[in-house]
């Protein structure tokens, strides 16, 4: 572009507009390039056609203004936080109206993710080698915690989800909530501090809950201090951080990993209704069992008693039978039977006469027969 100068004698003078146009057209001939830096001072408004931010060189602090078409910027959905590292693809540009130099970005890419991932992988390998994630370190959760600790962000839906799940399943639960930063450079230290504070207060189990977020948002939950604090926590820890696919390192160090804050809430308390039912069943069984033993013993006792009651009669009958038997034998042996067969008993006075020599001729004897008898005198003896 031809830039017109005004000649004042031998001096060529340019108007500001002409100068800016000249520089701008010269800059426009420079090639498009990639520039790396940290994003700061991001300014975006729905009323503006462009988004503005400053790229800062982390090494020496040099700054470069950048503008980018808002539609393009929004479409990238980068959710850039202050300090995020980017590669900006664009060309130098002079904003002619203000004479301001900046980079007109055509595209923008988040940079450093690879770095972060590699560092994370190194840390993971190191902690795994120390056995921090080992299955045998995992402790079972208490069935009925007296108090549950909850570490969460201050407005968090995560907090509400955990509390709702806990109180729905087990209304009498006691929960001690520690609100803390769950994002940004202070988050890791703050969560560690919250964990310790909860343990000092006395809880049986701790839930660390944070909703989903960008990779950078969740980085504090892979911080070495935080991961170690979770592994060293004196009570079991349930981690519910980010979404299923995120797996920050704290998830690996925790005793139980929950896919969502609601799941974590359900994991740390028993179902009250079920618990009461089970307890009730036990109690019923207790009574039934005791009664069964009692009944059996009672039946046994009843049986014995019956036998006891029957015993005297039985004894009597047995005795009677024995007696009858004896009586029969007695009768068989009585002299009466002998007399029936034609024998006679001879008595002299009171004495039974068994020998002829026991009587004298002329002595009176009495003869007893089976039926009746008679008196007689002895004729002779032999």
């Amino acid at each position: 572009m031809k830039v017109e100068a005004i000649d004042y004698g031998d001096r060529k003078v340019y108007s500001v507009g002409a100068f800016n146009r000249g520089v701008a057209s010269w800059l426009a001939r420079l090639p498009t390039v990639w520039v790396e830096g940290e994003v700061t001072e991001l300014r975006r408004s729905d009323r503006w056609a462009s988004v503005f931010f400053t790229l800062k060189d982390p090494q020496d602090g040099s700054c470069l203004g950048v503008s980018m078409a808002r539609g393009q910027f929004d479409a990238l959905r980068l959710e850039l936080a202050d300090g995020a590292r980017v590669h900006a693809y664009g060309r130098p540009e002079l904003f002619e109206a203000r004479g301001e130099f900046r980079l007109r970005a055509l595209s923008l890419e988040r940079f450093g993710l690879g770095e972060h991932l590699a560092a994370l992988e190194r840390l993971k390998t190191k902690l795994a080698a120390e056995g921090l994630f080992a299955a045998e370190r995992k402790r079972p959760l208490p069935l009925l915690p007296a108090r549950i600790g909850l570490v969460t962000g201050n407005d968090a839906a995560a907090k509400r989800d955990v509390l709702t799940a806990v109180t729905t399943r087990f209304p009498p639960a006691n929960v001690l909530v520690a609100e803390t930063y769950v994002q940004g450079p202070r988050a890791a230290g703050a969560v560690v501090e919250a964990l310790r504070a909860l343990c000092r207060e006395g809880v049986d189990v701790v839930v660390v809950a944070r909703g989903g977020g960008s990779f950078e948002d969740l980085l504090p939950f892979s911080d070495e201090r935080l991961v170690r604090a979770i592994a060293d926590c004196p009570v079991p820890v349930v981690s519910a951080v980010g979404h299923e696919q995120d797996t920050p390192l704290c998830d690996l160090a925790a005793d139980v990993r929950a896919s969502t804050p609601s799941v974590a809430g359900r994991l740390v308390v028993p179902d009250l209704a079920q618990l009461l039912e089970r307890l009730g069943r036990s109690r019923a069984g207790l009574e039934r069992g005791a009664r069964r033993s009692l009944d059996r013993e009672r039946r046994r006792l009843d049986g014995t008693h019956e036998r006891l009651a029957r015993a005297p009669r039985l004894l009597l009958e047995r005795r009677r039978a024995v007696l009858e038997h004896s009586a029969g034998r007695l009768r068989a042996l009585s002299p009466k039977a002998t007399l029936e067969r034609g024998y006679a008993i001879v008595r002299a006075g009171e004495q039974i006469v068994r020998s002829g020599r026991a009587v004298e001729p002329g002595e009176r004897v009495d003869v007893e027969l089976a039926e009746g008898g008679f008196g007689a005198r002895v004729e002779e003896t032999r």
Binding site: L275, L279, S282, G285, L286, S293
Partner: protein, 64 residues
């Protein structure tokens, strides 16, 4: 004794009692112990207060 321990012992006692093999004296002792365990468990459930507290406000309250 934790709730779990009490509940476990209670259920073991019930099992033994339900087998019907225990002598009466022992059964009565078991039953007594079982009732004790039941009361313990029930009390643990009944005395839970259902409180949700914020650590910050507790710390605040603890300050002199």
């Amino acid at each position: 004794m934790t709730f779990e321990e009490a509940q476990k012992e209670l259920e073991q006692i019930v099992q033994r009692l339900e087998s019907g093999e225990t002598p009466l004296d022992e059964a009565l002792k078991l039953w007594e112990r079982g009732e004790e365990l039941y009361r313990f468990c029930k009390e643990r459930l009944d005395t839970a207060e259902g409180k949700i507290e914020e650590l910050a406000s507790r710390a605040e309250a603890a300050k002199p």
